[in-house]
């Protein structure tokens, strides 16, 4: 039995090695992804364009415009002539922020009995850029107001002082959050692509019949397809992990062996999914589109982008059945928090249980489709 499986494994690997473009892509795609993500999370959002509608034209308003320009997040792009012009600039997306200082702004500010009002308008069609712009522009004015209050001798200390201490990632580095998840997602993708296309391709090219009439049993057939996917999944994990540690300086505070062991469990579960897909799909087009759908479902339910607690209740329950949810908790905890198996056993157990369930389902699925 072992011999027959090994023969199939050898055939798969020879086939893959012959396709140069494919082997290159298997390792290139993950690297490109990681670089894009690192680039996207490494840069601070800066220089959001501001249009100023300065109806006051005073030295104070000019000073505030200079303060706006000094904010890293903002960059004063142009002056608007009136409110219609401002709306037009925001409509066309030429600027993202409008600041309106009304006539008499400086006079009201100097008068202790009056309140000087300023309007900050942001383009909410991109909510992320919108909120960053809103808080940056508001902060410029709030700081200026605070300075004036202090100059008048008004104390502004808080009665309850919150002393915050942030563990594991005190600098709030967003890469530490995003890159471990991407390592998990890449391992998921490549494993699934290899595992799901194996049988679908044989079926489409008509070589599946030959495999069926060979002395290979169904289990041997599945294992022969699974082993190369497992090897490629592990190699991919190791290379991407090494890049994350060496080039992007991510910490590994827990045990590498623990992570590797749990990663293997994760890869096995995903291979199970891949085999199920290739049992359902009639051709490669279907298999590939299925993989894309599964990838999106996993992005939603795994906490890859947004914590699972932010999903509606029912969907939180579904998330528990997604292997990548448990794996992302594990990889983040091991790398960033230095968690050990004693902290993570519920997730490890869930990963193992899901793996067994998915694998037995997949062997059943294949036998039914082939007989």
């Amino acid at each position: 039995m072992i011999l027959r499986i090994l023969n199939l494994v050898r055939k798969e690997i020879t086939q893959l090695a012959r396709d140069r473009l494919m082997t290159t892509l298997i390792f290139l795609v993950p690297i490109v992804q990681l670089l894009l993500l690192a680039q996207a999370t490494g840069r601070r959002i800066g220089d959001l364009r501001v249009a100023v509608l300065d109806l006051d034209r005073s030295s104070v308003s000019r000073q505030l415009i200079a303060e706006l320009e000094n904010r890293e997040e903002l960059s004063v792009w142009c002056f608007a002539e009136d409110e219609d012009h401002l709306r037009d600039l925001l409509d066309r997306g030429e600027v993202r922020v409008g600041v309106i200082m009304p006539q008499g702004f400086a006079r009201d500010l100097a008068d202790p009995l009056r309140t000087a009002r300023v309007r900050v308008v942001v383009d909410g069609s991109n909510s992320v850029a919108g909120s960053i712009a809103l808080s940056a522009a508001s902060a410029v004015f709030a700081e200026y107001g605070q300075e004036r209050l202090e100059a008048l001798g008004v104390s502004a200390t808080l009665l309850v002082d919150l002393r915050v201490e942030t563990l594991y990632n005190p600098t709030y580095n967003i890469r530490h959050f995003a890159i471990p998840a991407q390592v998990g997602f890449i391992t998921f993708q490549i494993t699934l692509v290899i595992a799901s296309l194996g049988l679908a391709r044989e079926r489409e090219l008509g070589t599946l019949e030959q495999l069926i009439v060979s002395p290979l049993s169904r289990l041997e057939l599945v294992l022969g397809k699974a082993v190369p996917a497992f090897i490629i999944g592990e190699l991919n994990f190791l290379s991407i992990f090494a890049i994350a540690i060496h080039f992007f300086h991510l910490p590994l505070r827990g045990s590498f062996l623990l992570l590797l062991g749990l990663t293997s469990l994760f890869i096995i579960a995903e291979i199970g999914w891949g085999v199920i897909i290739s049992a359902i799909a009639r051709n490669q087009q279907q298999a590939i589109l299925f993989v894309f759908i599964l990838a999106i479902v996993d992005i939603t339910f795994s906490g890859y982008l947004v914590p699972v607690e932010n999903l509606p209740r029912l969907l939180q329950l579904i998330a528990r059945a997604v292997p990548m949810y448990h794996y992302l908790v594990i990889i983040r905890a091991v790398m960033l928090k230095g968690a050990a198996l004693t902290d993570l056993w519920p997730h490890a157990l869930a990963l193992g249980g899901l793996g067994i369930a998915i694998l037995s389902l997949s062997v059943q699925g294949v036998s039914r489709r082939l007989d």
Partner: protein, 370 residues
């Protein structure tokens, strides 16, 4: 070019899409399904967080403070902690997102008008959630403490900032993300076309096509027509989900949306056709589309963070993706209610991309035949 032969190819391809329910779902319905799934990430804007509270004061006032913090359900007290070791373990296992330590003398201090210090310990492994948690704890605490000030200072004058967000007044991420995600989920028809195209080469039915009187233009146009029609159905489904299910306001013209949707499909299909030209197998076609089109669309097309305009290189990368243009169009039509003339430039760019992809596909195709 014969219309008759083009339509024959289109009919064959449409039959392929419709014949198997699975293919129909995957090619035509999947964008709507994906939008439905992905948008759920952005349904709830409030950040829910679980806290462990270590109340060293144990007074009525400290209990009221905790009650004020948790009143609206955004914060939940998961576990009462009684030591730092306990707190550490809870954070490590991920059972709570943060810890709150209320010192002894909390009540006495506040009632005397003295400043008291409350310690907050946060799990920074998710920095976005951590900063949001801190921010809303801070807000609630300020509101809680306000009445205890000995003499409420009369603030005279001052500076008032009024913030407004146009197009999306509450800055809800769902409202902003659904129109932005539509271009991404609508890349499925382009992927399907690239696969259908490579498939003929892989399976070998391509050779049998060559000996038929069908010419390259007719072959490509027929295939494109079939997937474009199926893609238009997807645009309609996706639009209906956004408007009827997620209740995203749509302020532009629906007809214009459909038209520009077709424009985008054309561009993305030209793009993927170009990619498919260089590959022999569907596996490689898929990985290339994933690497060049799909993944960058998430990161550089302005979906979450705005398009990076800081360097020429990043601008070129961003604006050579059809997704970047259609994200701007989609948000412009949904939220800003833009008219045709404001969208002329992206529409022309998309059309150009589609034409370019189709022409180069044809050129490479001819070369291979010759």
């Amino acid at each position: 070019m014969s219309i008759h032969r083009t339509l024959a190819i289109a009919r064959k391809e449409i039959r392929h899409i419709l014949r198997d329910l699975r293919t129909f779902f995957l090619v035509t319905v999947s964008p709507a399904f994906l939008l439905l799934t992905l948008s759920y990430i952005f349904v709830l804007d409030v950040q829910q967080a679980d806290l462990a509270v270590w109340d060293l004061d144990g007074s009525p006032l400290s209990r009221r403070y905790v009650a004020v913090l948790t009143a609206d359900g955004d914060f939940r007290v998961r576990a009462p902690a009684t030591s730092y070791t306990e707190l550490d373990r809870l954070l490590l296992a991920g059972e709570v997102d943060g810890g709150l330590v209320i010192p002894q003398g909390f009540e006495a201090g506040l009632q005397a008008g003295r400043q008291v210090q409350v310690q907050v310990v946060l799990d920074g492994s998710d920095p976005i959630a951590a900063s949001q948690t801190f921010f809303s704890l801070q807000q609630r605490t300020v509101a809680f403490a306000a009445p205890f000030r000995a003499s409420p200072t009369l603030v005279v004058g001052g500076l008032e900032v009024r913030g407004e967000a146009w197009y999306n007044p509450a800055l809800k991420s769902l409202i902003s993300m659904v129109p932005g995600l539509i271009p991404i989920v609508l890349s499925m028809p382009a992927l399907a076309l690239a696969l259908a195209f490579t498939r003929e080469k892989e399976v070998g039915s391509f050779e049998s096509l060559i000996v038929t009187p069908v010419r390259g233009t007719e072959y490509l146009a027929g295939k494109l027509f079939a997937y474009l029609s199926s893609g238009l159905v997807s645009v309609l489904l996706v639009w209906l989900i956004a408007v009827l299910y997620f209740r995203v306001p749509f302020r532009g013209s629906p007809l214009l949306y459909l038209l520009l949707g077709a424009d985008y499909l054309l561009a993305s299909m030209g793009f993927s056709l170009l990619i498919a030209n260089f590959t022999r197998t569907q596996q490689t076609a898929m990985l290339l589309v994933l690497m060049i089109f799909f993944i960058p669309s998430f990161f550089v097309a302005g979906l979450i963070t705005p398009v990076d305009t800081s360097s020429l290189g990043s601008r070129i990368v961003a604006y050579s993706l059809p997704t970047t243009h259609f994200i701007a169009v989609s948000r412009g039509l949904f939220l800003k209610g833009l008219g045709g003339e404001a969208l002329l430039l992206p529409a022309a760019v998309l059309l150009g991309m589609g034409g370019l992809g189709f022409a180069s596909g044809l050129l490479l195709f001819r070369k291979r035949l010759g």
